[in-house]
């Protein structure tokens, strides 16, 4: 039941030195920052790629938009693709930084395994390494996208190569798997969730949570 807390007391960990300054969720603040920044990393990348697809298939959609009397331009779609992916790159540095900070303070519930059969530390390390890898991939994709836009395909209507779109799709699938690991850290391993940590410590939620 309270093995987490006993364990923390016995193991000499740097967390012990600041434990009294942390809340019941093992953070110095009540709501984790990383999961909030993740909304931007995932949302901006996904919609960026989606709009480049819209720009790539523009000749097919043109009639539909004309039928709807909705003025659209191919350049407009590709602008959404480019600026969203660019913004994703910028924000994702903060996403990964916040993720590492919060991982250092993580106290997962003991004895839990995820749907993949992984324990807490495996899930956390894969999520951390994957996070850095994804950041590098996102930045590389953005640089690639910039070359397509400003150098290689500057004169062309379709601003992205099919290879870029295919890679973007693969990255999105990776992001989905990676995001699932992160989601399980919360929903299964109770990392930084006040109620889960309090329950593990044997507290009565009816009393301690207002």
């Amino acid at each position: 039941m309270s093995s987490t807390w006993i364990g923390l007391g016995l193991i000499s960990s740097p967390i012990n030195e600041i434990a009294d300054r942390l809340g019941p969720n093992d953070l110095p603040y009540s709501i984790p920052i990383h999961p909030n920044l993740v909304h931007f990393t995932i949302g901006l990348f996904a919609i960026g790629i989606a709009f480049d697809f819209a720009g790539a298939f523009y000749p097919l959609e043109k009639r539909v938009f004309r039928f709807l009397a909705l003025p659209v331009t191919r350049v407009g779609f590709h602008d959404v693709g480019w600026y969203n992916v660019l913004a994703c790159s910028v924000i994702s540095f903060f996403t990964v930084a916040a993720g590492f900070f919060e991982m250092l303070l993580a106290v997962p519930l003991p004895g839990v395994r995820s749907v993949l059969g992984q324990n807490a530390i495996d899930t956390m390390l894969w999520h951390a390494v994957g996070g850095v890898a994804l950041l590098l991939i996102i930045v590389a994709m953005t640089i690639w996208r910039a070359y397509e836009r400003f150098v290689w395909r500057r004169e062309l209507g379709r601003q992205v190569s099919w290879l870029y779109l295919a890679c973007g799709t693969v990255v999105l699938l990776l992001m989905g798997l990676h995001g699932s690991l992160g989601a399980w850290l919360a929903s299964e391993f109770g990392v930084h969730i006040t109620a889960d940590q309090l329950l593990a410590a044997g507290a009565d939620l009816g009393e301690v949570l207002p």
Binding site: N25, S30, I31, P32, P35, N36, V38, H39, F40, I42, G43, L44, A46, I47, F51, P71, T73, V75, G76, F77, D79, V80, Y83, N84, A87, L109, V112, V115, G179, S180, A183, W184, A186, S187, E188, G190, H192, I193, T194, A195, D196, L199, A200, D204, L205, G206, L209, P210
Partner: protein, 166 residues
């Protein structure tokens, strides 16, 4: 009748993980970045950013209805306790209101864009910023439900099922 419903897992869900927070990526990111792009567009005079913010706003508006559908289903299965009940009620109310606000704003933007895609009315950015503020409040409430009250996490569902929570 109840037998026809799919069985619920250890997160009290008919599916593997909560879907609402995933769909919500596209409301939060697109609504907030839309305001940022509008602002940068106004400040730097890059008119093509207005096109970027328009489409992002449109995506946010479409996504919020999907988010509400999953939000309502998962809220219904959440068994909130204590103050989480009130937070969930306010979160639902703001959620539906946001759908209205986003819809109106996108409609306004659509009309403005039909006339001249390179122009943004002065008042739009102000209302836009109010939208951003409302989204931030809504995210904060949703965060509380997950990160403080742990709704749909395994330990909380377990506690609720064993009758420890009320």
């Amino acid at each position: 009748m109840l037998g026809l419903l799919p069985p619920l897992n250890d997160k009290n869900l008919p599916w593997l993980d909560v879907i609402h927070p995933i769909v919500v990526h596209f409301v939060i990111a697109m609504a907030l970045i839309s305001v940022v792009f509008d602002l940068i567009g106004v400040v730097t005079g890059r008119r093509n950013l207005f096109e970027v913010s328009f489409w992002n706003l449109l995506v946010a508006t479409v996504a919020i209805f999907v988010a509400i559908i999953f939000g309502q289903i998962e809220a219904g299965l959440a068994s909130p306790y204590g103050a989480a009940r009130d937070i969930l009620n306010i979160h639902s109310t703001i959620g539906w209101s946001l759908a209205g606000v986003l819809g109106l704003l996108t409609g306004w933007r659509f009309v403005v864009r039909q006339k001249d895609p390179n122009r943004l009315p002065g008042g739009f950015l102000a209302v836009d910023s109010l939208l951003a503020a409302l989204v931030v409040v809504q995210v904060y409430l949703g965060d509380k439900l997950v990160w403080i009250y742990g709704l749909h996490t395994v330990p909380v569902v377990e506690a609720a099922r064993s009758g420890v929570l009320s």
